[in-house]
């Protein structure tokens, strides 16, 4: 089922869980709007993760599930940021789910 968000005079198509259908629709202003809908106030730490999952998607053509997100963050930023507690604090409803949603990417495959 297709749904849409009205944003800045544009109609953005999303799936029923709120993930963008076309990641080319994404820009940072839209990310702020999506964050608001999730009740998240974007800090530098949030942006870092959102940009990270976008880069992950561009490189590997897949949205990272939580375990992979933690591991990949650890490889780039070290264990302080590459751990699930840190990410869970930023994205309380599930880091992989929420960060990929704000980044305009598909939901991680078979993410529970």
């Amino acid at each position: 089922m297709e749904q849409s968000i009205e944003f800045n005079g544009r109609t953005i198509l999303v799936d029923k869980a709120g993930y963008l259908l076309n990641n080319q629709d994404w820009d940072e202003a839209l990310a702020l709007h999506l964050a608001q809908r999730e009740g998240i106030e974007m800090t530098d730490a949030h942006w870092e993760v959102v940009r990270f999952v976008r880069a992950f998607y561009q490189e590997f053509n897949t949205s990272p599930a939580i375990r992979a997100l933690v591991k990949a963050m650890e490889k780039t930023y070290g264990p302080e940021k590459g751990n699930s507690r840190y990410l869970q604090r930023l994205f309380p409803e599930g880091p992989a789910k929420q960060a990929t949603k704000l980044a305009g990417l598909p939901k991680p495959a078979k993410c529970l």
């Binding site: 992950f56 490189e59 590997f60 053509n61 897949t62 990272p64 599930a65 939580i66 375990r67 992979a68 997100l69 591991k71 990949a72 490889k75 495959a109 078979k110």
Partner: protein
């Protein structure tokens, strides 16, 4: 309780069919749940790993880029059949990620160490 080891075998080429994508999805999910997974490429399955694929030309997703992310899913057993490579005029240098290339005997032995074997 120790977890069971799962081997996932690719035997078909990419893009003509969807088995390759399905095998990869299963691998990522099993990896996400901390299962001990080995990924094997035999026969036409070795074409899955070829570099330089541009399946956008036939409106398919380029999931070959995802193989490079397997390390983040703790999947480090990647085995390719040497005979299958050779029959197709390929070497490790034609593949998009580093793998273990095994002769048929060694490959059979490697497979025997898994509890479950799923073939795509």
């Amino acid at each position: 309780m120790t977890s069971k080891r799962i081997a996932i075998i690719n035997r078909t080429a990419p893009h003509g069919h969807s088995q390759g994508q399905e095998a990869l999805d299963m691998t990522l999910v099993a990896g996400s749940f901390g299962q001990d997974v080995g990924l094997f490429f035999l026969d036409d399955g070795v074409f899955q790993l070829l570099t330089g694929q541009k399946p956008d030309a036939v409106l398919r997703k380029n999931y070959s880029k995802t193989f490079a992310a397997l390390e983040f899913y703790d999947i480090d057993t990647l085995v390719v059949c040497q005979q299958s490579l050779q029959a197709r005029g390929l070497t490790q240098a034609d593949l998009c990620i580093p793998v273990q290339v095994l002769a048929p005997d060694a490959l059979r032995e490697a497979l025997a160490s898994f509890n479950h074997i799923v073939s795509f």
